[in-house]
Symmetry: none
Subunit: 234 residues, 2 copies
């Protein structure tokens, strides 16, 4: 629920964030700029702007909601009202969504929510911004809140990439041998420290945490280099 | 690090989110609109815009960073590159910050990061948006990422000590350049696939998880090899 929003670009940005994070019901109270449907920054979120509902009072806008949460920087708030950090608020909101509608209220760009608006809220939420600069851009504040509320869903939806095959010791040793060969042909290895250098190169290769594909790729490169060094020697 | 950002309002929004969440070093690569200092939506973030640095290449912009993370919707990504969800990425980034600089790259509004940009990244991060509409507004994407990265700080200061110094991007790029030189001198690189091979080598080097000492060690070896290849050519 956006209350007294002034900038249509912000309304568009809010719609876009809603679409990004899977929210659909946008409500506007006392929107300053009725031409919000033209908001251009709402790439791919026109369905949300089309379906947005307009109200003249906060009471009407939150009428069918069983939890109303107000967003605030916490600076001028009435201490009588419970305030939660966004991290603590998100699981409460998700839990509530299972049994009813939840309204999250955002105030105007200049003044935030008024005391009158806040009176409609069950409790308040604060995004943990720096005390020296707590006030966020409206579109960004909405994006951060929706990201956090959608978080649980993300945890289930995540697609972990197939774990990759690590390079075998055999592959690593082949790499070691070819690199040593190239180093020998380039006079990097001095006779009196040869054994120590071999050791160092072998350890280095093992510290690279190569997967099987990368090991083959690197081996191909080093072979080509070693061959080139040899052919020019001969 | 913002790469090829077009809209100065977005640059301002990014600066504002940085200020909200306590980040200060903004870098711009190939900024489309040089008058970004006028960005008006950066309420209270002018100090960040004033201190923002401009670069012409991604390599320069991330030179002193030892971890480079690219943001992506994951749609057209090269499967060879590791990708983490934002939730999994944030603790890794925080841990790394104890031992070195971390760059988080955001691409242009239209196209995101190019394959060339992505080749400079150690791994990629994806904000868990809906598959049907994954692409976020730039300012909102930055806000969500910074919110998540700052999360630990909200929970309490990190106590993990810096274990080892990671190789910087500058070191990795030097390694890349010398290896490419050796591969060119060995005819590993064919003219018609040169760009693709360059990309692949750049990514490979970044997958090696090198620390600073090992990067220097490997660089010394490759330099010797490259020099040897050249001297025999001439």
């Amino acid at each position: 629920v956006l209350v007294s929003t002034r900038n249509p670009l912000n309304i568009g940005a809010v719609a876009r964030a809603m679409s990004n994070f899977g929210f659909s019901k946008l409500r506007l109270v006392n929107a300053y700029e009725p031409s919000f449907r033209e908001a251009r920054s709402a790439v791919g979120a026109s369905h949300i702007l089309q379906a947005a509902e307009e109200f003249t009072t906060v009471a009407d806008a939150v009428g069918d909601c069983s939890l109303v949460v107000g967003t605030t920087t916490g600076r001028d708030r009435d201490v009588s009202q419970r305030m939660e950090s966004l991290e603590a608020a998100a699981p409460l909101i998700r839990k509530h969504l299972a049994g009813g509608n939840v309204a999250v209220l955002f105030g105007s760009e200049k003044r935030g929510l008024s005391n009158e608006d806040l009176a409609h809220c069950h409790w308040l939420v604060r995004i943990p911004t720096r005390e020296e600069h707590p006030s966020m851009n409206l579109g960004q504040a909405v994006a951060v809140c929706l990201y956090e509320i959608a978080r649980a869903e993300n945890l289930g939806r995540l697609t972990t990439p197939a774990s990759e095959t690590h390079a075998t010791s055999e592959q690593l040793e082949r790499l070691t041998v070819v690199l040593l060969e190239a180093l020998r042909a380039s006079d990097y290895i001095k006779p009196h420290t040869e054994a120590a250098t071999e050791d160092n190169v072998r350890r280095l290769i093992r510290r690279l945490t190569l997967n099987a594909d990368d090991a083959e790729l690197l081996l191909g490169m080093l072979r080509k280099i070693a061959r080139s060094l040899h052919s020019e020697e001969g």
